[in-house]
Symmetry: C2
Subunit: 197 residues, 2 copies
DNA sequence: CGGCTAAAGCCAATACCGTTGCGTTAGCAC
DNA sequence: GTGCTAACGCAACGGTATTGGCTTTAGCCG
């Protein structure tokens, strides 16, 4: 059987509905606990029929995950450029903390983690971070400095911040600064071999 | 008003019911996603009336959180004692990864994170880790070695592991080893001041 | 512009969850 | 053993999420 290509309709109304749903989820996530976040509620807030949501996603968690990754992926933050790796790391650490530290973003993060099952090669919400880290490193090496690897920055700067936020551990700018300092120290010492993971 | 002390009944039947519920939650968590984990389901699996669960916890999330912290707190792991800080860190990193890397434990971790709302001074699932870290440090300093702080070990060894697991990022023993090596390097260099946070 | 049909809306039926009131069982203290 | 009552089991209720059938709207293509 020659299965005909299903022609998607992405424009006009569909786009409008989808956008309304996204913004509705965003609003509701910004307001309170995700516990009471149910499909009928989202539908009403979006001025959309619940059936549409059921048809398109089928499950709240799927919708939540989709919105969460969308929200966590598009951070238009520019990588800081202070002239030194230490300054860049510190500034960037503060930015990341500021970003994921807001209640809404924290809920998004938790929702995304909760929705996750099994192993996925790389989490979409870290992709942007990797790009940023790589940019910092590149600039640093262009200046002739010793720089840590992307993996090291992710593991020792981003992961602690994400972990703290996820666990609800209070974290302030000073903590971010210390993490940045530690990573910088790690770069200065080539102790752990090539470490180009 | 002399509020009479409510005499709890912890023995016999109550204990049996509670144990059945705990094991039921454990089984169900080991099987699949927590999405479909509802009170009636747990009750049926435990051979217990749903009312008992509602009365005692009132909410699934509370029950889940309680079981999760119970499961994540009681790790009877002995802190490894290899004779050197580097060896201890590496062995411990492997243990921790082995622990939280199992599907069941990972789901527990995710459930606990999802249940979290707002900021709490310290996450119960990290308390035991802190104790272990402190023990490692103590032994190390007794040998006259330079040791990192507890916070550093948590931030740079435990958090990356937890973060990776939570995000579903594939992690193997080699990754754990590298993290341990990095922390060790961090200890060797006193770059970031006293750092006794 | 007009036809085709994907996608949204509407409505009713269903299923399941959470809740409450009351009778029954069985710890704990004496 | 006996009494008291905490904790469990049972059953019925109310509400809300979910599903299916059908109609209506409006993208996309010629």
């Amino acid at each position: 059987m020659t299965s005909v290509a299903p022609i998607r309709r992405t424009g006009g109304r569909s786009a409008r509905v989808l956008d309304a749903i996204y913004t509705a989820v965003g609003q509701l996530m910004g307001e309170g606990k995700p516990d009471k976040l149910t499909i009928p509620v989202v539908a009403e807030r979006a001025g959309v029929n619940p059936t549409s949501i059921y048809r398109r996603w089928g499950d709240i968690d799927e919708l939540l995950e989709e919105v969460a990754v969308a929200a966590l992926t598009q951070d238009g933050d520019r990588a800081p450029d202070t002239g030194s790796l230490g300054g860049d790391l510190q500034a960037w650490a503060r930015i990341v903390l500021e970003d994921i530290g807001t209640p809404k973003r924290t809920r998004y993060l938790r929702a995304m983690v909760a929705a996750r099952d099994g192993l996925a090669p790389d989490c979409p919400c870290l992709a942007q971070r990797r790009v940023m880290a790589a940019e910092l490193i590149e600039r640093s090496e262009a200046r002739g400095e010793r720089a840590p690897s992307v993996a090291q920055i992710i593991d020792h700067l981003v992961m602690p911040l994400y972990g703290r936020v996820l666990m609800g551990h209070p974290t302030d700018q000073a903590d971010a600064d210390r993490l940045a300092a530690d990573v910088l120290a790690l770069a200065g010492e080539g102790c752990s071999g090539p470490n180009d993971r």
